[in-house]
């Protein structure tokens, strides 16, 4: 179980959080092609190494934030606000 540093509450056990998947996904508009809309809905990279993802401190402050994690070592490289650009 990872220990995740919530940007508001500090380090807490992973079981207090829910993961919302990859961050910084641009949400296409209504006029986007079916293919691009399908890519947005169903296709994600599965990188070995750095992954930017969003987490919610569901059993705590309830806030979403971004997290940069190494998917191999689970090292958390940084946490940053949900509206911040990638580090």
């Amino acid at each position: 179980m990872m220990q995740i540093p919530c940007i508001h509450c500090g380090p807490r056990d992973e079981s207090e959080f829910t993961c919302g998947g990859t961050s910084h996904m641009a949400r296409p508009g209504l006029d986007e092609s079916d293919r691009n809309w399908g890519e947005y809905l169903f296709f994600r990279d599965n990188p070995k190494g750095l992954h930017l993802e969003r987490w919610r401190h569901a059993q705590g402050c309830g806030q979403w934030f971004n997290l940069a994690r190494n998917t191999v070592t689970h090292e958390i490289l940084s946490v940053y606000a949900i509206t911040d650009p990638p580090p």
């Binding site: 919302g20 296409p28 508009g29 209504l30 986007e32 079916d34 809905l41 979403w64 689970h74 949900i82």
Partner: protein
């Protein structure tokens, strides 16, 4: 029966003044306080303890610790019976009851032992190769009965388990001399230090050998504030240095034979740094019939003699591959045990001077072991072929093949291993992330070096300094070679799983060369011991068969738990009523007093109906629904999901969330809305009412409130970040009392509700803030039953009072209480959907009649883009329809498939809701049907368990099509 107690001072761990009685296989024995079950059995001369997993061969006690492969017992009886406990770890207590595993009718005479006669027919993979036609499942139950070990009680576990979280700067796993030394150094350097010892006392496996130094370290540990726990095994290390440990309470707190006691604690410890000081296991020597009771690890016999005062035999032969054999020989002689000979596989030149102290046969191995259920003698062959085999009279054969460091924590944390050729062992190659090894588990076998390294490591980690490298060594020389080729008799690699050298050879021959494949094909390294005494021998042997070095064969992946852990430990207190705690209505007791029949709906426990005496749930629901349609009824709707949405952008936000438009509602107006996910699927529904320009009242389904609130938050925080909106869940703040029926208003008026709420002045789908004797009310005129209906939202602490006040006047209006079942009947009569029942994970809003609403709305909303996909516009989609059986009598079963021909065939849909309508005196049903909306009046065939019910697609709703009752 040749074992016996040795005179004091041997047996430093046992207290001979405290005699404990226990039973094994129905026979009474006694031991001493401080004994394990294994030491007490050995002291009583019991060598045959159980039968093996597959071949039912007689087996005894092989080790003195956690690595025990064979000395397994079922402990206790009845509900507290625990299978496959290692007798070497079970601390003796008065009244202990234990029994052998995998034998019938008794361990001495075992019918299943026929398997050992057929051993040649039962090699690795035998079952899978043989019982594959017609299928494995056919044979599996019988084979499972024959194979296996202990049996579970089959009753609920009456004992209790706890979970505790803890933190430490430095966590030391292992209470031996290295662990103590590391912990003392870390604490003396100012670190908050926690020490876990798996045994009952500090000092570890060698405490009896290193007495005074251990005692001194324990004093220092007390003084510098090392927190320590005994009987606590660190069984796993997980992400970010979370160490999980199992604390066993001995004897279980509050128990003397009976159940219901606190038995174990799960410790979840987050540590900045972890020091592993978990010692090493002895590696056995392989020879024919090396599984006989009376063959055991050399170090174990040494410990039984010194720590427990038990001589495991009187005439000892030691089979050796390693220098450690001579230390044990000397130690046992010192304890007064006769060492007949050391049989060493190595040439004279490789053996140290200590061999001179004992009769040593070099270049030699054990060729046969005499005796089936105990050792009677053995014969020794020499690799120098001109020497005749020699017969040795003995009753105990010890196995000294070298050591294997217990590297599990290091490896679990991702640490690498390297092969140390001279000692034939894997040792940690540097540190693992967050985990540093010391002592024998790091390959440091010289006690002084280990103590010093541990201390330096403890200090360095406490102060954040560079850590010292491990000075690996001191284990002496040993030979990797693991078996004797070309002799008769099974040579076992894995005693617990009956894996012999031949099985490893077969795996190599059939190309299961990877250790992971080897493990799964032969089952070596599986079971309760996970190969603690067999893994290294197995992979060395695989290397021999395939011409590879052990380092190239590698080890299987180390995964937690290191030792068996009870399921109860992981369940903790999350059992029974606490497994999934249910929510109760604010007026739960009141409903109970009215005779409510409670059922679970989602996370809520609420009245399904209020049966009168003699009534079934179904007949009560029929009566209640009929009464609501005729007079009036009261439903406790408190679980209804409730959100308040505030802010300048609240209206715009709700337009984005809902299929319907909410921004054009005037204050006081309400509208039904559907919520979709990004795939366009209907996920929730409910009524949205506007309380003010920047304030909305949102109802969701009872089950959907948490996920709807979470979805709103996610959209606001992650996507529509510029909107000034506040979402406040208020379900637990507001109760809901729903009053419905033609006399609903008369009933409300009779208890003093404001006349502004009368149907004449308050329209359907409007909301008024009102008050009754100072009690704030939010009254929504809406209806899920199809009758004139008021959903009265009231602060939770006033719900019971309001219901009581209404109920006093009920007789006057012939009003009833109704539950969920009656509500389901009425909403089905009206054709109202229940999301998740009449919809599924493929249902789009146009499938349930919202095509027009989507067309009318210009703005974007969540899921809209997905409604434009070709598949979403396919006219063959499943659409919601009303269904009626042609005979107007037969209920259409929920879930029944609709198809022209009998299944198996392509389905055209299925029945989603179905009830008997008391109003119509006929069944009513809803279903999802391909092209459903274009098939009004069409006949369909409903298939249920081989029967066909003819039905037709009819117009919804079944009652009040013009809405006269609804609008009043």
């Amino acid at each position: 029966m040749t074992a016996s107690r040795l005179a004091a001072p041997l047996g430093s761990r046992v207290d001979r003044s405290q005699r404990l009685e226990f039973q094994f296989n129905g026979r009474r024995f006694s031991g001493f306080a401080g004994d394990t079950l294994a030491s007490a059995l050995l002291a009583n001369g019991v060598q045959l303890v159980g039968r093996s997993f597959k071949l039912h061969r007689p087996r005894g006690i092989f080790s003195c610790g956690v690595e025990e492969p064979t000395g397994l017992v079922d402990l206790s009886t009845g509900a507290t019976r625990t299978p496959n406990m290692r007798s070497t770890l079970v601390e003796l207590y008065d009244g202990l009851v234990a029994a052998s595993v995998n034998c019938w009718p008794s361990v001495g005479f075992d019918v299943g032992a026929i398997n050992s006669r057929m051993a040649a027919l039962l090699p690795a993979g035998f079952y899978y190769k043989t019982f594959k036609w017609p299928n494995w499942q056919l044979f599996e139950p019988a084979i499972r009965r024959m194979a296996g070990l202990g049996t579970v009680s089959g009753e609920p576990d009456p004992d209790r388990y706890e979970e505790v979280a803890a933190q430490a700067d430095v966590l030391v796993a292992g209470g031996g001399i290295a662990g103590l030394s590391a912990a003392v150094a870390a604490a003396e350097a100012g670190a908050d230090t926690l020490l876990l010892a798996s045994g009952p006392t500090l000092g570890g496996a060698l405490a009896w050998r290193a007495g005074p130094r251990v005692a001194e370290l324990i004093v220092r540990a007390e003084r510098c504030g090392v927190r320590h726990m005994t009987r606590t095994l660190a069984f796993g290390i997980y992400d970010h240095n979370l160490v999980c440990a199992r604390e066993v309470l001995h004897p279980p707190a509050g128990r003397a034979g009976a159940g219901g006691a606190l038995r174990e604690r799960l410790w979840k410890i987050r540590a900045r740094a972890v020091i592993a000081a978990t010692g090493a296991f002895e590696r056995p020597v392989i020879f024919p019939n090396n599984d006989r009771p009376g063959v055991m690890l050399a170090g174990a016999a040494d410990k039984y003699a010194h720590a427990f005062g038990v001589a495991c035999g009187q005439r000892v032969v030691i089979a050796a591959n390693s220098d450690s054999a001579y230390q044990v020989a000397a130690s046992l002689r010192g304890a007064g045990v006769q060492v007949v000979a050391v049989v060493d596989r190595r040439p004279r030149a490789d053996i140290g001077a200590e061999a001179a102290q004992v009769h040593t046969l070099v270049n030699a191995g054990i060729a046969t072991v005499g005796g089936a259920k105990a050792v009677r003698h053995c014969s020794v062959f020499s690799i120098d072929t001109d020497v005749r085999p020699e017969r040795l009279e003995c009753d105990l054969i010890l196995s000294a093949g070298g050591h294997a460091p217990a590297v599990h924590l290091h490896s679990q944390a991702g640490g690498k291993l390297r092969w140390l050729e001279e000692s034939a062992m894997f040792v940690p190659d540097g540190a693992a992330p967050g985990v540093w090894s010391t002592g024998a588990c790091a390959g440091i076998f010289t006690p002084d070096t280990a103590v010093n390294h541990a201390a330096e490591l403890g200090t360095a980690l406490a102060l954040g300094r560079a850590v010292p490298a491990a000075a690996v060594g001191g284990a002496g020389r040993s030979l990797a070679i693991t078996h004797i080729p070309g002799v008769a008799g099974k040579q076992f690699i894995d005693l617990q799983n009956d894996v012999s050298t031949g099985d490893i050879g077969l795996a190599a021959q059939e190309n299961y060369r990877s250790v992971e494949h080897l493990k799964r094909y032969t089952t070596t390294g599986m079971g309760t011991d996970q190969g603690k005494t067999s893994n290294v021998n197995a992979l060395v042997l695989m290397g021999e068969f395939t011409g590879r070095e052990p380092a190239d064969v590698g080890t299987t992946k180390f995964r937690p738990p290191f030792a068996p852990v009870t399921l109860g430990l992981f369940a903790g207190r999350r059992v029974g009523a606490l497994y999934r705690p249910l929510k109760h209505l604010p007026a739960h007791e009141w409903h109970e007093a009215q005779g409510a029949l409670f059922e679970q709906f989602g996370n809520w426990i609420r009245p399904a109906a209020y049966p009168r005496s003699g009534e079934s749930l179904e007949s009560a629901a029929q009566r209640e629904a009929a009464a609501v349609r005729k007079t009036a009824g009261l439903l406790d709707g408190s679980p209804l999901g409730k959100l308040e949405i505030f802010g300048p952008d609240a209206a715009h936000f709700l337009d984005l969330m809902y299929v319907g438009t909410m921004s054009n509602l005037n204050p006081g107006q309400a509208r039904y809305g559907l919520l979709l996910n990004e795939n366009g699927i209907v996920v929730d529904d409910g009524i949205v009412a506007r309380l003010g320009p920047q304030h909305y009242w949102v109802n969701t389904t009872s089950a959907g409130i948490e996920r709807t609130a979470a979805a709103f938050e996610e959209w606001l925080q992650c996507e529509y970040t510029g909107l000034r909106v506040l979402v406040t869940p208020v379900t637990s703040r507001w109760g809901n009392v729903t009053v419905a029926g033609p006399r609903a208003w008369d009933w409300l008026a009779s208890v003093g509700f404001d006349s502004a709420l009368a149907p004449s002045s308050m329209k359907h789908m409007t909301l008024r803030e009102s008050a009754l004797d100072g009690m704030a009310l939010r009254v929504l005129r809406a209806s899920f039953s199809g009758e004139l209906g008021y959903e009265i939202n009231v602060p939770v602490d006033r719900v019971t009072g309001l219901i009581e006040r209404l109920w006093e006047r009920a007789p006057q209006f012939a009003a009833v209480l109704y539950g969920i079942e009656a509500l389901e009947i009425m909403r089905t009569e009206k054709g109202f959907i229940h999301v998740g029942t009449d919809t599924d994970g493929t249902t789009l809003p146009q499938d349930i009649g919202f095509a027009r609403a989507i067309e009318r709305k210009a703005a974007n909303f969540v899921g809209r883009r997905s409604l434009l996909r070709p598949a979403a516009r396919d006219p063959g989609r499943f659409q919601l329809v009303a269904l009626s059986p042609v005979d107007r009598r037969t209920l259409l079963p929920v879930g029944a498939q609709i198809a022209a021909a009998a299944p198996p065939t392509q389905t055209e849909g299925h029945v989603t809701s179905s009830y008997w309508s008391p109003e119509l005196g006929a069944p009513v049903a809803l279903g999802l049907l391909a092209r459903g909306t274009q098939r009004l009046g069409e006949k369909i065939r409903v298939h249920h368990l081989g029967k066909v019910i003819d039905a037709e697609v009819v117009k919804a709703p079944f009652i009040d099509p013009t809405g006269e009752r609804l609008h009043g």
